[in-house]
Symmetry: C2
Subunit: 140 residues, 2 copies
DNA sequence: CTATACCCTATTAATAAAATAGGTATATTA
DNA sequence: TAATATACCTATTTTATTAATAGGGTATAG
């Protein structure tokens, strides 16, 4: 499986915050409840999103999280790479391989990698919020 | 990582047999040596390819493997699915999820799954043999 | 004072990937 | 017919990764 819970939960977390932040800062506890994910595990996941400046956290009473950027500026490929690391479909593309020079399958994997990156690059958080993805493609 | 050694070695095995079968049946031992993969592990991998009728095995002295089909008739997506099982990029698409009805990210994954399948569907073993993949796309 | 984010380390549980070990069946050759 | 080489089969082990849990703590804002 290519996308683990780290990436999937990251997107659900961002969507949840985006959908609820009109009410003020969103507590992780509430996201955990709504999404059915343990608060402790979300803590691990939210850290990266704060570091990469997709979310801003505010401490203390009344604190919580809100988006640091407009949903249009949250590129889905970049969010997933922040959460998951490289999205390469085969290890060869990450670690290299002594046979790369003459490997007959390498171009296949390079092309696949590009196709995946291009697809995900076509989405932003705004697309997910609008349900634009229902067609399988962003509305642009 | 989406594609494991099962899928990657399967393709390299098919390419190796295709490139050498003019000399008669190809012994697994020779593939193992050329490809730098243990013979025992290749045994596991070759089994599926025989079952799915991509390769034919002949026992006894002088035996080995040859392609059961023309390279043009070996679809890369189908080979990989035989070796790996479903290529779905997220578990949700395989096992389902109680939130599928209203999940804002599901369409993203469905689209990704389709993009991957369509890309791989565009390749056959013949493309890999011709090095057509060097452009990242089959020559058609 | 309290509620929240934020930080740290460790442990476990579950699953999957990768490989190994040892045996059986069958075809060819001497 | 015996020896050999090969495919074929079943099971186990090892290693790595994912996914989560547990439990502590510190900083800060209301």
């Amino acid at each position: 499986m290519m996308i683990s819970t780290k990436g999937r939960y990251s997107l659900r977390l961002l969507v949840d915050v985006a959908e609820n932040q009109r009410e003020g800062y969103i507590r992780l506890r509430d996201v955990a409840r709504r999404q059915g994910i343990s608060e402790k595990y979300l803590e691990i996941i939210v850290r990266t999103l704060v570091q990469e400046d997709y979310l801003t956290g505010v401490r203390g009473k009344g604190g919580g999280y809100r988006l640091s950027r407009d949903p249009e500026d949250c590129n889905i490929r970049q969010v997933l790479e922040a959460a998951e690391g490289p999205l390469a479909p085969v290890v060869c593309l990450e670690n290299g391989c002594p046979r790369m020079e003459r490997c007959p399958t390498l171009p296949l994997w390079q092309g696949l990698d590009q196709v995946i990156a291009a697809y995900l690059d076509g989405f932003t958080l705004a697309d997910l919020l609008q349900g634009a993805g229902e067609t399988g493609a962003p509305m642009g």
